[in-house]
Symmetry: C2
Subunit: 448 residues, 2 copies
């Protein structure tokens, strides 16, 4: 595959860039037409790569791209999952280049989606192309690319239910996660679930002059802050009653195994520019993001946020709150617990609304499967070192649903690195990882 | 004056609307050219109304308009203060009409600045015009209109120091406050001072994926909320140490006198759409806004505030905080107390910045002066009922400075009403108050 990459590199860039230039932001209604454009371009790329068929399917939300090549009904079938939607690029002023105009410098591609997930799904299309064109393919391969992963995949579960036969497969291959580092390849064997909510606190029915009313009326910003301050206790545990009830505590042995993954706390703090880490008492940093649930405020707004001084006592304050969940914590149970608690701590002089935006469960992947072993062997060959099993802190909500609906286990062969700053300004993807990923995937097919 | 208003009403509207259409927002740099346009238009209106001279003067910031008519150097001189700058119109989606296109309906003018302060300063120009054209004027009259009141008048004190002789006067007449109600006219005999600050909490040096880092790193939004939650104690007193040290407690008699002003708590709550009021323990609602200091969060922002779900652990969180101060609490003393306290409650894993935006002191006006008595008599004649002395919760920072620099006491003949919702969307000014104000001002000249 190495040689094939060298021979086709420029064409690969052109093809990937054509995807990256489309601002397929699923969170924004204004980008609807871009979702269709991006899906069509993907179907075209699948056909060019050698799929027998590939098409854009409508769903309740953004379109789903499905394509396949059936070699032999009796052969093993690999289902490749990816998503073509991206996170909003904001804050725009922090980008050093145009978020939707890919550039290559410092051995990486810089663009929104360069890694998450256009860059990573592209590796699969090209590894497939290589297998087809060199006559190496001996599996059936199916591709499913959705356009709503970043908003919690609201439409894909129903679409999967309606297309169960089409999607039959032995394993679901996913590249949408990270490795521990370039030098420490790893395979994700579990992800966190997610409950994402938007809350609104309303005080007076209109914005007021803070001089005329200040001191006499509940200020919804202050109230919201006081409520958010009650979401964690002094040990940095989430204060929502019942939140930890179903969390499975790992055994001493499992924790020791996880602790073997190399991790340098000083490097970590330096990378983030912080003096101290903060998290749930009694757990290490790796455990806090890997095996423990958490709650974060992802956004807050209210009152005057423009330039200069405006003296206003606002009518409303808002926040976006995400809870990362671990296996056995079900989003459909945690979300109502949060709602109940949040409403219970609201003072009587304000009105509180809690709106669910997105939810999904965490999952675990057994490391004893044939697919895991094949992936491990492939990565070891490319990176020259055996990958360690790790736990990702992020969420791909739909994969837990896929397990339930289709009965297919995911295999997370992710080639991202923390330095790629996905979801943030200046997202990038190292060429070394892009090409290393392609090679590893091609070898996976060989060993699976 | 009533008849004069009837005869000239349409021209009055045209003239006032020409001011209102200029978006003279002092908080925004992009509106600089509008400040000059608005100042020029005001100077023109003063000349047309009968001033001997009127001109736009440069200052360190936005231009100052000064005009005068000297009848007799031995006569009493009235200095009229007003401001032509306005608050930002945001949130724009709450306006029912264009914020800078005045419309008349329901017996009121609706526009940003309709009351604060273009509508109110316009009453003075027209009352002056009436006095001049009907040969009634027997005072010298000077006008000073500034363009930075809404941002704390940073340039006017220096300008006043440089033009002390020009500004010599016996009293400073100001219409930039409210009456208790249309049926209960009042004269403001004290205002609160202001310390306005912007705070910033920085956690990690970049926005992070909340899945990969959530639970392991201090979230600056959560930290800011936890800090804001520590700004008030359980009795709703401001928790900044030393905040109340210089606050003068009113005597039982003074409190009883203030309590005589009619106030209906149920009506108040109904107007605001709230079930309960909230404020410093041991004081009434009127006292909380009139004679007690307070602290409000006027704005907060951080992380993703757009549509949909973005899972980010942001690098920064911000808030705008205003403290309303009562006489003897000096802004230059309170601001450092706040800064010290805010920095002291910051956890070590974040970085905190406190920036002063604006500051000014409160003041009191004696109700025994000739000017107060003349104003009281004038208002009583127009409204058919004697005005009560009241305490305004707002701040006109520069008037305390004027007392100190020029030795001139302000007299606050304000004709605004709470229903005008100044500083908020859909600001308005009742025609009845606009014209009642003109009549009262004309009579003030007669009785002073």
């Amino acid at each position: 595959m190495k040689q094939y990459i060298q021979q086709n590199k420029e064409r690969f860039f052109e093809e990937l860039f054509s995807l990256l230039r489309i601002p397929s932001i699923s969170a924004k209604a204004e980008n609807k037409p871009d979702m269709q454009r991006c899906a069509s371009r993907l179907a075209q790329l699948l056909l060019e790569a050698g799929a027998d068929e590939a098409a854009v399917y409508p769903s309740k939300g953004n379109p789903v791209v499905f394509g396949q090549k059936i070699i032999d009904p009796a052969a093993k079938t690999v289902l490749v999952y990816g998503h073509y939607d991206v996170q909003p690029p904001e804050p725009l002023d922090k980008w050093l280049t145009d978020p939707f105009e890919p550039v290559i410098h410092d051995d990486a591609i810089w663009c929104r989606g360069a890694n998450d997930d256009k860059g990573q799904l592209f590796m699969h299309i090209k590894a497939f192309e290589f297998m087809v064109r060199t006559g190496r393919l001996h599996h059936n391969v199916k591709f499913i690319f959705e356009g709503e992963e970043e908003i919690g995949s609201p439409s894909l579960p129903d679409w999967m239910r309606e297309h169960k036969d089409l999607l039959k497969a032995d394993i679901c291959l996913v590249s949408d996660t990270t490795m521990i580092s370039e030098k420490v390849p790893s395979i994700n064997c579990g992800m966190r679930g997610l409950s994402y909510l938007e809350v609104k606190v309303t005080g007076p029915n209109k914005d007021l002059h803070s001089g005329h009313y200040g001191g006499a009326v509940a200020n919804p910003i202050t109230v919201l802050c006081e409520m958010i301050a009650q979401l964690h206790d002094a040990d940095q545990r989430v204060a929502v009653p019942g939140f930890y009830d179903k969390v499975v505590e790992l055994s001493k042995e499992d924790r020791e195994l996880l602790a073997k993954a190399p991790f340098d706390l000083d490097e970590y703090k330096q990378f983030l520019g912080i003096d101290e880490v903060r998290g749930e008492k009694g757990y290490t940093t790796m455990e806090r993001t890997g095996i423990r649930p958490c709650l974060d405020v992802c956004g807050i707004w209210g009152g005057y946020t423009g330039e200069g001084a405006k003296t206003v006592l606002p009518s409303e304050a808002h926040a976006k709150i995400s809870m990362r969940l671990v296996p056995n914590q079900l989003s459909r149970e945690i979300t109502p617990l949060f709602r109940k608690y949040f409403e219970s701590i609201a003072p009587k002089d304000v009105h509180v609304e809690v709106k669910e935006c997105e939810g999904g469960d965490g999952f675990l992947i057994p490391i004893s499967s044939d697919a895991y072993k094949a992936a491990s062997r492939a990565i070891a060959e490319v990176y020259g070192i055996e990958p360690v099993p790790s736990r990702g802190g992020g969420s791909i909500a739909v994969l837990a649903e896929m397990q339930q609906i289709l009965g297919i286990d995911p295999l997370l062969m992710g080639f991202g690195l923390e330095r790629d700053t996905i979801h943030s300004p200046n997202e990038s993807y190292l060429l070394k990882q892009l090409f290393g990923g392609m090679e590893s995937i091609a070898l996976f097919y060989q060993y699976y």
